[in-house]
């Protein structure tokens, strides 16, 4: 059973557009929600993360929106650039699991110049 459901599977946007990637979860014990960015041939790298005590977090052009009641969170990339073309994974974890992360299935983003 997929603990974290991610959509869409792939996304193509024009340069300057705002791609949005969505994730949903069921386990209300989750208390940490990171997003990872992965380029071909490389491991995932932490992009931004949020805890459920806030509804939004921004770091540069990347924003996480968090809706605790709906059990959903999303990644927005402002003014997207061709260099943002990568695979993005959401994840969730709760404190008492040895810091185990449950990952979504990934979204392949292509930003067209």
């Amino acid at each position: 059973q997929q603990q974290v459901k991610q959509s869409p599977q792939s996304l193509i946007v024009q340069k300057g557009g705002i791609p949005i990637i969505n994730c949903a979860y069921e386990n209300t014990a989750f208390d940490y929600f990171p997003w990872y960015q992965q380029f071909p041939g490389k491991g995932p790298a932490l992009l931004i993360a949020i805890r459920p005590d806030v509804s939004e977090k921004k770091e540069g052009r990347f924003t996480i929106s968090f809706n605790k009641s709906a059990k959903q969170f999303s990644l927005h990339i402002m003014d997207s650039q061709p260099g943002d073309s990568a695979t993005y994974f959401c994840a969730a974890s709760w404190t008492n699991t040895g810091n185990q992360f449950y990952f979504g299935t990934g979204t392949s983003l292509t930003v067209i110049p």
Binding site: Q6, Q9, D31, Y32, P34, Y36, G41, K42, G43, P44, A45, L46, A49, R51, F89, S93, W94, T95, G98, N99, Q100, F101, F103, G104, T105, G106
Partner: protein, 115 residues
Amino acid sequence: NAGVTQTPKFRILKIGQSMTLQCTQDMNHNYMYWYRQDPGMGLKLIYYSVGAGITDKGEVPNGYNVSRSTTEDFPLRLELAAPSQTSVYFCASSLWSGLGNQPQHFGDGTRLSIL
């Protein structure tokens, strides 16, 4: 700092062969993890360790073994390679501080093909 280092980067095995994927980290992290990544499936946890001498199964442990004799090293062993184990394997580490979960830091992976 090198972070998390995985070796080898690529390997081709024959069915039934065995091998060890190496992982070492220099960040003094107490937690370490092994994942496999298959197309469209995300990252699946194979095994994890919360400290030297302590390991536990993840979501997909069958066909694999691990050990953790030092804080730095967390090798993954495939005993009888099967085609279903063709995948990209990632090692990760994180620091447990007692202040809530922390990010996991990943190596660049080992691409393994079993023919």
